[in-house]
Amino acid sequence: MRCREARQFLPSLMDEEATGELGEHVSGCRRCQADLAVYGEVASSLSVLEMVEVDPPAWFLQDTLSLIPSPTVSQRVRIAAAARPVRYAAASVGGAVVGAGAIGLWAWRRTRRAVSGSPQSSRDLAVQKA
């Protein structure tokens, strides 16, 4: 393959690998490599343009914001549920701690009573007297 022929394919090599005869030619040809480098340079300059912005008129933003739809009832529920997990999580952890504490205390008292056979508080005493 000669340069003139190879050069016809160079722009497409921005998207795909050079294979076969074309690949062989380009890998051994400085002129085509230089050309390919120029395509690469143009491509990278182009990719930056995404961030080069044209200023819209001043009212455009507010006008567009006014198009935002109001949430439906079911969406309100989803939005509220998504806002809650932190509070729910804190409440359930707190509840678990309190619950575990109460169970622990109850079990500890039972064990103590079983071991000593004696009442542990005035309330227990009153229950026993009754």
């Binding site: 160079l10 143009v42 912005e53 200023d55």
Partner: protein, 195 residues
């Protein structure tokens, strides 16, 4: 850059998340619209139509795709609809394919922003639109073909020719003298984005 958290909140229909999405993307959406339709007033209509479709369609957006590409595709679709209504789609979709011979010597290119803007404006509307959508905004040839209603192969051929022509124009460094004016004004001029 729109974060996954904002997208998730938008999918729940959270208006505050939509507001954040609009604030962070409206310049880019408007810029693409003006580059595609070439008229500021039409670009506003296109951008707002695209936002209405984004609000409605976000639930169907799948995270494996880049959000911005999905958004650009919707803007492109809105722009093509407007051009079709104006009877102008043909100048973009069915572009006259003129191939010009490449100069015989590789040389330096002046790919600064201004030269690039001038070179882009010297391309035909169809070639320019393909370059914007593929090389700047990252749509695939398949997606562009779908939006134009033409074969993917035709998009590839046009892109190939457009890149070649763009390189020539930049190499010639004579784009200052290109007469006739751009069909799409303000192709690259504007403020640098903040992302």
């Amino acid at each position: 850059m729109v974060t996954p958290e904002v997208l998730a909140a938008c999918k729940r229909g959270d208006p505050r998340a939509f507001e954040e999405l609009v604030r962070s993307t409206h310049r880019r959406v408007y810029s693409l619209a003006v580059r595609l339709v070439g008229d500021q007033h039409d670009a506003q209509d296109v951008a707002q139509d695209a936002y209405l479709r984004i609000f409605r369609g976000l639930d169907g957006f799948r995270e494996e795709a880049r959000f911005e590409t999905w958004m650009y595709r919707i803007v492109t679709n809105s722009a093509m609809n407007l051009l079709r209504r104006r009877g102008r789609l043909v100048e973009v979709a069915l572009d006259e394919e003129l191939d010009t011979p490449a100069p015989d010597r590789p040389s330096e290119v002046a790919a600064d922003r201004d030269s690039l803007a001038r070179a882009l404006s010297a391309l035909s509307p169809g070639q320019r639109t393909v370059v914007w959508l593929k090389d700047v905004y990252g749509l695939s040839c398949r997606e562009i073909a779908d939006e134009f209603g033409i074969e993917e192969g035709a998009v590839k051929v046009r892109l190939h020719r457009a890149r070649k022509r763009l390189k020539e124009l930049l190499e010639e460094g004579a784009t200052d003298e290109v007469q006739g004016g751009p069909a799409v004004p303000a192709v690259a001029h504007g403020r640098g984005g903040d992302g």
